[in-house]
């Protein structure tokens, strides 16, 4: 009897743990293949947009975040040139979540393609564990907190215009 109870408890624990992990995956990212399951809902943590940079790279200039007006999702293809490189973002909706491909291209170098999957878009904001986005009337403000690239800084939003 004691053994059965222990086993039941173990199953319950595994089930609950699985649930918790799935919850985290909702806003997980890099290279997690998007599931083909029915439409998923997404949640953005309340503090996801606090303590973030307040400056935006707009071309080669730096502007104040407050000078950009947030709106609902405004497009799916965005681009910018930042003096020495082009950056493109392509967004794709999948089962209620979003997949984003960010392409970084410097002249004379291979382009770098980075995929962010299972991103949450809600009320004009985009959320993943290490990425944030704010849609604006003509584009998107994009921030990578851990890009792994020396020229994509976690201290600056990047403004990309709609194609």
């Amino acid at each position: 009897m004691t053994n059965i109870n222990k086993k039941s408890l173990l199953y319950v624990a595994v089930f609950l743990l699985g649930g918790c992990l799935n919850e985290q995956n909702i806003a997980g990212e890099i290279n997690n293949p998007a599931t083909k399951s029915p439409t998923q809902t997404c949640n953005i943590p309340a503090d996801a947009f606090s303590k973030l940079p307040t400056e935006v790279l707009d071309g080669t200039d730096v502007a104040d975040l407050g000078s950009f007006k947030p709106t609902d999702i405004s497009g799916i293809h965005f681009h910018t040139e930042i003096g020495g490189a082009n950056i493109e973002i392509d967004a794709q909706a999948l089962n209620g979540l979003y997949k984003i491909q960010r392409i970084y291209k410097e002249p004379d170098l291979e382009k770098i393609v980075t995929n962010y999957n299972n991103l949450c878009v809600k009320e004009g904001r985009l959320y993943g564990e290490n990425v944030r986005g704010i849609f604006t009337e003509k584009g998107i403000l994009w921030l990578e907190l851990k890009s792994g690239h020396e020229f994509i800084s976690p201290d600056l939003w990047i403004y990309l215009e709609q194609n």
Binding site: G59, T60, T80, I82, G83, G84, P107, D108
Partner: protein
């Protein structure tokens, strides 16, 4: 003529010169200028080497002497001596004068040179062609390559350096500057402060040339940068930048003779 290699235990006039230079550059410590290479000097040398992106082995060989010749006095005191040191002429400063001649050079859009002979020359200064044409890509690194080529080809102070032909900011910083023994230092370096003629690399993919420095504000000349009213880079322009968006500075290396002469000049004024 080259400087003598110095290590822990060395003594003499060269060590005195080394100690003077370290004192001049170091904002935080002050060595006794006694000509004795002891543990305090060793520690200061290692800190200097780390700051200059060199192997911190405490041995003052050609690369460390070269970096010492490229240092900027820290200005930790306001004494007349320090002011005099600050006036030591910098051969690198000519780079900013070259860049300034091209202010206003503008693309026709989409990184195209159109009929602009100056911009075509800038695009031709790197080794890149895309689908048979020389323009059509972001050109800030090409502009800096172009200006550095002009400087190196016309100044005997840099005759040992191979001119850059880089279209990429990453390659300019991580390949050309490193392979050319340039001094590379971060914006918050304790030993080096930016000066006219330094090359500035931003925290995003962009590169320019320092024209002047006023505290945290750096006046630069940049190719393919935003003009008033433009959203993306299109022109060679003068910009005022805050230090916080700068990743690192690159200072061109001098020939051995020019390096020795500069060290002597700075030491004499210390």
């Amino acid at each position: 003529m080259s400087q003598k290699t110095l290590r822990n235990g060395a003594q003499g006039k060269s060590v005195e010169q080394l100690q003077k230079l370290l004192n001049t550059y170091n904002k935080n410590t002050s060595l006794t200028v006694d000509g004795d290479f002891g543990s305090a000097t060793l520690k200061a040398v290692k800190r200097f080497q780390e700051s200059a992106d060199l192997t911190a082995d405490g041995v003052v060989g050609p690369k460390t002497w070269q970096a010492l010749s490229l240092g900027t006095p820290s200005g930790k005191t306001k004494s007349p001596t320090t002011s005099a040191v600050n006036t030591v002429s910098s051969p690198q400063g000519v780079l900013a004068d070259i860049a300034a001649k091209y202010i206003g050079v503008k693309e026709t859009g989409n990184n195209k040179a159109g009929d602009s002979k100056e911009l075509l020359a800038i695009f031709n200064s790197d080794s890149l062609t895309v689908k048979g044409v020389t323009d059509g890509y972001p050109w800030c690194a090409a502009f800096v390559s172009f200006c550095v080529q002009k400087l190196l080809n016309n100044s005997p102070s840099f005759s040992m350096t191979t001119p850059p032909k880089e279209a990429s900011v990453s390659r300019f910083l991580n390949v050309w500057a490193k392979n050319s023994n340039c001094l590379i230092f971060p914006r918050n370096s304790a030993f080096f402060t930016p000066q006219k003629g330094d090359i500035v690399v931003f925290t995003f993919s962009h590169i320019g040339i320092v024209e002047s420095v006023n505290g945290r504000m750096i006046t630069t000349i940049e190719g393919n940068t935003n003009d008033a009213g433009s959203r993306e880079g299109s022109v060679v322009a003068r910009k005022v930048r805050v230090n916080s968006i700068i990743k690192s500075y690159i200072r061109l290396p001098l020939t051995t003779a020019a390096s020795v002469s500069r060290i002597a000049e700075i030491s004499r004024l210390c």
